[in-house]
């Protein structure tokens, strides 16, 4: 199967298929049923990123530099993850302003500057030429390998003159193909749906071809990946081929090339073309942001296995760049090498088609048209002549660009490997990154800053990467890279200012971007933008702003007739009808004034064909007065951003208000609760006061009414009255105490005292009472003096209250009470226990509530009830003295245990009043 006829037939057959697909895509687009309206097709078209460099070069790089090749794909993965932020913004701008290329984009951003556009176009042309040369080289070499195997391909390639050099003819054939392909539209519109469909197909073909050869190598030539790995493990010189030390420049080189890949992915002219210009629907970006990285992962899956297999089998000293072909050839496969060749052809032609179309658009719109418009309009005066002119210019440009690529390949190509050429181009394209990416977010950036940044960055790129390439190919003295120019070592292009030890790409990227960004930012800060620059800067940086006005920016005046004439002269009758229909204006009459919307539409139509800078020149030639309403757009943006700011603050305030009102609601609920408690308290107090009062009154009335009462009975009644009066006054005393405690007016006289002594005194006070009730009181107070700060009378009141309570609640049959005092850290704990029923855990805090006892209802045990204020008062007093009082389970007697804890008072510290009262 390996003869010239078959290979040529298959190759041309494949190109013809692409052409059919492209024609079909264009026809679908014309009838409004886009063939590329799917995010997957969009992602596949982005895969034009994988060129012959990927297809053949990745294996070569993996053999020589280990995992370094992956960087070229990890970078775009990062960039695509950020696509919903960055690329969405660019797509939005490009759609609004009818951007046709990256040069047009940068020129439009900086006030539709023709000069800047021309510089970018020229730079893109220079930096892309080596890359195109690389594709030609790949096609030629792969063809030679396919035809001559097992003889070396080099001989066949080297001895060729240009008229028998296959790459020359490949370039010419491709030029014809691209002319048929990319410049079919007579209206020279900026989108090429047919081309995108063909590119998507090519991406599928190269992926399938690469996976096929990978599966063949791993599963047919070897028995699976484990077999391959096992053989690698037995070959010691291969054990470190995949390590990080193989990467040029080590960790620095790794990071440098990763950054380079991120930037280049966004700025390569062909990537900009498919990512931004050819995007038909903004929502495709979301899915493409993961489908495209997945494509990259798949196409790289078998790179390393193929490289390892190639190194293992030696492949008769073949170039690692050709392992993809030589491995199936060496295994005697027949059809597979042809498929691989087609895959490589796909990768190379896909890149060349898109790149050439992007470059030819730039050349015609940014380089040639501005010159034609400036120097003479004679040639363009006929109706619709511009379209023909544009197509002519683009066709010539396509041939010229491909021939330029061929010349570069013929003169210099062999000195460099695929990888070097590719990366040199990457660094060149990365020079657009500051003007493109920073300009998307930084409104202050000016045209002068962008221009000087680009020029300086490009100069340093040429010096550190392009020039040494010329030296290596023998055009200029090799001493340039060995000793530096004129023997000046610090000017050595590979070690500028003595910075050596870096790989050449990171080195070149650092210096060129340093100069680029430095001048860009520095000059922007010290120059004043023109009004148009300010407007465009605002339109670009605020592109995702919801209130951005999309039309009616024109304020000047012209007639429909003049505008129509302009459009007819440059775009033809069809364009006039489209523009007038878009703007919603019937072609009412030549003398009628053109609406602002119509002027905007006309400018956009011209921009779509000619680029922004030229379109603006043309519109200015017919519109009188203040051409563009710049003040109003700026004020719209500023007022809307102010409104947004107010809005944000309002939201903040309302959140604060919500929080405040929630706090108020809580406070209100608390107040209601307190009010209810107060009512309850008053009701309880009245009830408590009425009970003794009622009995006093009843007995007093009996005494008053019945004179004839025996003395005993009278004495008994009087005793009851006295007892109830005492209870009444005690209750009132307690209520007053409580009121003082709660209002903070309770006066205490703190002094240093011995708690043990005090406890003993309190025990003495209740002993008599306890004895009457048969309570067995145990004391454990003999652990020495316990010095605390407190009010002796009040503390005694508390302790007596605790003992009294314990007595009341102790077991009826054999009541026992225990009082004990013990030091605890630097504090003292006095606890009173009883052997009663105890207090349930849920009740332990509530016993300190006012009138708690009353809430428990009647006394089932028929005991004398207290007021229910004692414990509340006790806790208040103890808290005033800096201690605490709590209820617990009795450890020794099994009933309740109430413990008070007071801080110890150090000997030398003078006794001070505890806080707050």
């Amino acid at each position: 199967m390996r003869n010239d006829i078959v290979v040529l037939a298959v190759a041309f057959g494949y190109l013809a298929l692409l052409f059919v697909v492209a024609a079909w895509g264009d026809r679908r687009a014309e009838v409004g049923r886009s063939a590329i309206g799917s995010p997957t097709v969009y992602a596949l078209s982005i895969a034009v990123y994988c060129t012959a460099w990927t297809f053949y070069g990745s294996v070569g790089r993996a053999s020589a530099q280990g995992p370094h090749f992956l960087l070229i794909y990890l970078g775009p993965t990062l960039a695509m993850l950020a696509a919903p932020f960055v690329i969405r913004k660019m797509v939005r701008i490009a759609a609004r302003q009818r951007i046709t290329s990256i040069a047009d984009f940068i020129s439009a951003r900086y006030g539709k500057s023709a000069g800047l556009g021309a510089v970018v176009a020229l730079m893109a042309l220079i930096s892309s030429t080596p890359y195109i040369a690389l594709q030609l080289k790949a096609i030629t070499v792969s063809h030679a390998v396919l035809m001559n195997y097992p003889a070396s391909a080099d001989l066949a390639v080297e001895e060729a003159h240009f008229w028998i050099d296959k790459s020359f003819w490949v370039a010419l054939v491709l030029a014809v193909f691209i002319i048929l392909f990319g410049t079919r539209h007579l209206d020279a519109s900026e989108r090429h749906e047919g081309m995108v469909a063909a590119i998507a197909l090519e991406s599928l073909v190269k992926l399938v071809a690469f996976l096929a050869v990978g599966i063949f190598v791993v599963f047919v030539m070897f028995q699976g990946p484990l077999d391959l790995l096992g053989r690698v493990a037995n070959t010691p010189e291969l054990s470190r081929v995949l390590g990080l030390e193989q990467v040029p420049g080590g960790a620095t080189g790794w990071v440098g090339v990763l950054i380079l890949a991120v930037l280049a992915f966004l700025t390569l002219p062909r990537q900009f073309q498919v990512l931004v210009v050819e995007n038909v629907d903004e929502t495709h970006i979301d899915r493409a942001s993961w489908v495209f990285p997945l494509y990259l992962l798949l196409i790289n899956l078998f790179v390393v296995p193929i490289a390892l297999a190639g190194l293992l089998l030696g492949s008769e000293g073949a170039d690692p760049d050709s392992f993809v072909l030589t491995l199936p050839l060496s295994a005697g496969a027949e059809a597979l090498p042809l498929l691989v060749f087609i895959g490589g052809l796909s990768a190379a032609t896909g890149m060349m088609i898109v790149e050439t179309i992007a470059l030819s658009t730039m050349v015609s719109n940014q380089l040639i048209m501005p010159l034609l418009l400036r120097f003479d309009r004679l040639h363009l005066s006929g109706s619709g002549r511009l379209a023909a002119w544009l197509l002519g210019i683009r066709r010539v440009a396509i041939v010229a660009i491909l021939l330029l690529g061929y010349v570069y390949h013929a003169l210099i190509g062999d000195a460099y490997t695929l990888v070097t050429i590719g990366l040199v181009s990457f660094v060149g394209a990365a020079q657009f990154a500051p003007a493109l990416l920073i300009g998307l977010y930084w409104r202050v950036a000016t045209r002068a800053g962008a221009l000087w940044g680009l020029v300086a960055g490009f100069f340093l790129w040429g010096y550190t990467l392009l020039l040494p390439g010329f030296a290596q190919s023998g055009w200029i003295d090799i001493a340039l890279i060995e000793q530096g120019p004129w023997g000046l070592g610090w000017l050595n292009p590979y070690a500028l200012f003595g910075l050596d030890g870096w790989d050449i790409y990171t080195h070149g990227l650092l210096w060129s971007l340093l100069a680029n960004v430095g001048l860009y930012v520095g000059i922007s800060l010290f120059t004043r933008p023109t009004a148009l620059e300010q407007t465009q800067a605002a339109l670009f940086t605020e592109a995702l702003h919801p209130n951005l006005p999309s039309a009616s920016l024109w304020q000047g005046q012209t007639t429909q007739g003049e505008l129509g004439e302009l459009l007819r002269r440059y775009l033809g009758e069809a364009a006039i009808r489209r523009v007038f229909a878009d703007a919603g204006d019937g072609h009412a009459g030549d003398s009628r004034e053109a609406s602002h919307r119509l002027i905007t539409r006309a400018e956009q139509a011209l921009a779509g064909s000619l680029g922004n800078a030229s379109a603006r020149v043309l519109i200015n030639s017919v519109v009188r007065g203040e051409a563009l309403d710049m003040a109003s757009i700026l004020s719209i943006l500023d007022t809307t951003s102010q409104a947004l700011e107010y809005n944000r603050r309002l939201e903040q305030k309302s959140a604060e208000l919500e929080r405040a009102s929630a706090a108020l609601r809580r406070a209100n609920a608390r107040l209601r609760e307190l009010d209810r408690l107060k009512d309850e308290f008053i009701a309880m107090v009245s009830h408590e006061l009425r009970t003794p009062l009622t009995s006093i009154r009843a007995f007093a009335e009996i005494l008053n009414d019945e004179d004839a009462m025996d003395a005993d009975k009278r004495r008994h009644f009087l005793g009851v009255i006295v007892h109830e009066s005492q209870r009444l006054s005690r209750l009132i005393e307690e209520i007053l105490d409580l009121a003082r405690l709660e209002s903070g007016r309770l006066t205490l006289n703190p002094e240093r005292l011995d708690l043990a002594l005090l406890a003993r005194r309190s025990v003495d006070a209740v002993t008599q009472l306890h004895r009457e009730q048969g309570i067995a009181l145990t004391t454990e107070l003999d652990s020495g003096p316990a010095m605390v700060t407190g009010d002796a009378d009040r503390l005694e009141q508390v302790i007596i209250n605790l003992l009294d309570n314990a007595g009341k609640f102790a077991d009826r049959e054999a009541p026992r009470v225990l009082i004990r005092l013990a030091p605890h850290k630097d504090r003292y704990r006095l606890s009173v226990e009883d052997n009663g029923p105890g207090i349930g855990p849920e009740e332990r805090e509530r016993v300190f509530d006012k009138f708690h006892q009353l809430e428990r209802g009647g006394d089932a045990l028929g005991r004398p009830r207290g007021s229910g204020l004692g414990l509340a008062i006790s806790r208040g007093i103890i808290a005033h003295l800096g201690g605490r009082l709590w209820a617990d389970e009795s450890r020794h007697l099994g009933g309740a245990c109430l413990t008070l804890e007071l801080p110890g008072s150090a000997d030398e510290a003078p006794a001070e009043a505890p806080a707050s009262h």
Partner: protein, 75 residues
């Protein structure tokens, strides 16, 4: 009104976090650690890179597609 806005802001934050994570996964400090693992074939680094890459793509797919689904649901 604020719910879809907040939803979108949350999506952006997650995406940003994923980008930062991916950048960290693909950069030297972690790579150096993996590269020093002992092995006869030196395959760990490569294996790590591919697995990390696949995980990042999987997370991105989940993030984008779940948003797409919920976006459709809301409409």
């Amino acid at each position: 009104m604020t719910t879809p806005l907040r939803h979108r802001a949350r999506h952006s934050e997650r995406l940003t976090a994923l980008i930062v994570t991916a950048a960290v996964l693909f950069c030297p400090p972690l790579l150096l650690v993996i590269d020093r693992l002992p092995s006869a074939t030196g395959i760990w680094l490569l294996l790590y890179l591919f697995i990390a890459w696949a995980v990042v793509i999987g997370l991105a797919a989940w993030l984008q597609e779940s948003r797409r689904a919920s976006g459709k649901g809301r409409r």
